[in-house]
Amino acid sequence: MSLSKDEMAAAVARDIPAGAYVNLGIGQPTLVADHLPDGSGVVLHTENGLLNMGPRPSDEEVDPDLTNAGKQPVTELPGSSYFDSATSFAMMRGGHLDVCVLGAFQVSAGGDIANWHTGAPDAIPAVGGAMDLAIGAKSVFVMMTLFAKDGSSKLVPSCTYPLTGVGCVDRVYTDVATFEITPDGVVVLDTFGTSYDELAERLDVPLSRA
């Protein structure tokens, strides 16, 4: 069986080391927080200026001064710290985050990521912190379905959408397989409801087994 979004998030969560400092991108990656085990000591960073972010508050506890990067209300945990945007991005760009988890339109075999712009001529572009996250964290995990609605693979020899970052992705967690991007190529770490051979046939990207 292929993985649900929650199962993909759980797969990512399992690979986050205890005590790691982690940024979860807007959208599906935020689901990862729900799958971190109690006592993991994982510290969540939100680029609008908070370390050790907690879960969504109850409706009564919503504070308009306390949001995540998706502008959703969040909470602070004991040991939190606040800082301004320049400091927050210095933290990201300086390589201090252990892991960031991003959604993507496409990832290339060389670890390029495209996740901010479809390239459609009438689209209003918006990049936010995606480019900083892509190049800043020690490990960059991507979480996406492997195939687009038209059946084409999002793991590609070379991205056709405008790039977010070059050669920066380490792992790709999808509904049907988990991949590691290595200097020697793309390694299949796990498959779900499909086989290595099926993947190898369907993707334009050379694969190898773990």
Partner: protein, 217 residues
Amino acid sequence: MRVCDTAAEAVDGIEDGSTVLVGGFGMAGMPVQLIDALIDQGATDLTVVSNNAGNGDTGLAALLAKGRVRKVVCSFPRQADSWVFDGLYRDGKVELELVPQGNLAERMRAAGAGIGAFFSPTGVGTPLAEGKETREIDGRTYVLELPIKGDVALIGAHLADRMGNLVYRKTARNFGPVMATAATTTIVQVREVVETGELDPEAIVTPSIYVDRVVAV
């Protein structure tokens, strides 16, 4: 430093054609009353530097809707409630310079810190670095980024003392501190102005040297 009685007094003298840095991340930290006062004040042909390009119909969105903004420099204009910007942009009525959020913050920091330019790894190899100088340093490729200096900064903070020292509250801090350093004139709306000496000197986030006008709203 002047403690102003009204937001109108605080925004007095902002000139047509100014570059205005506007704080806030979405609505958190957005200086809504200062923007409303700027709308009334009438300055036009503005370049606005802000993380977003307005939400709903208030604040920055209202300023845009009035046709006062020639150009927006920001990282994330498109949002669920950014219909004002979206319409103006599609109609070619506002110019957009899209900057990755970290480069946006760091370019303003550079302006405030007297740095002439800096090499950033963010955006290398992407459309947002096209046409910019790049350089390999110690095995990594960087793109040269220039400072963004404001004529005016409009920011929201939590408390000010009468000298202009500021503290913020939670993630409403965001772009306020860096914008305060990067503008010729920094104008701040706060929830309360307290007596000098009431803020803990160890916990002040924006020292008074960066602040020109404060108004409690």
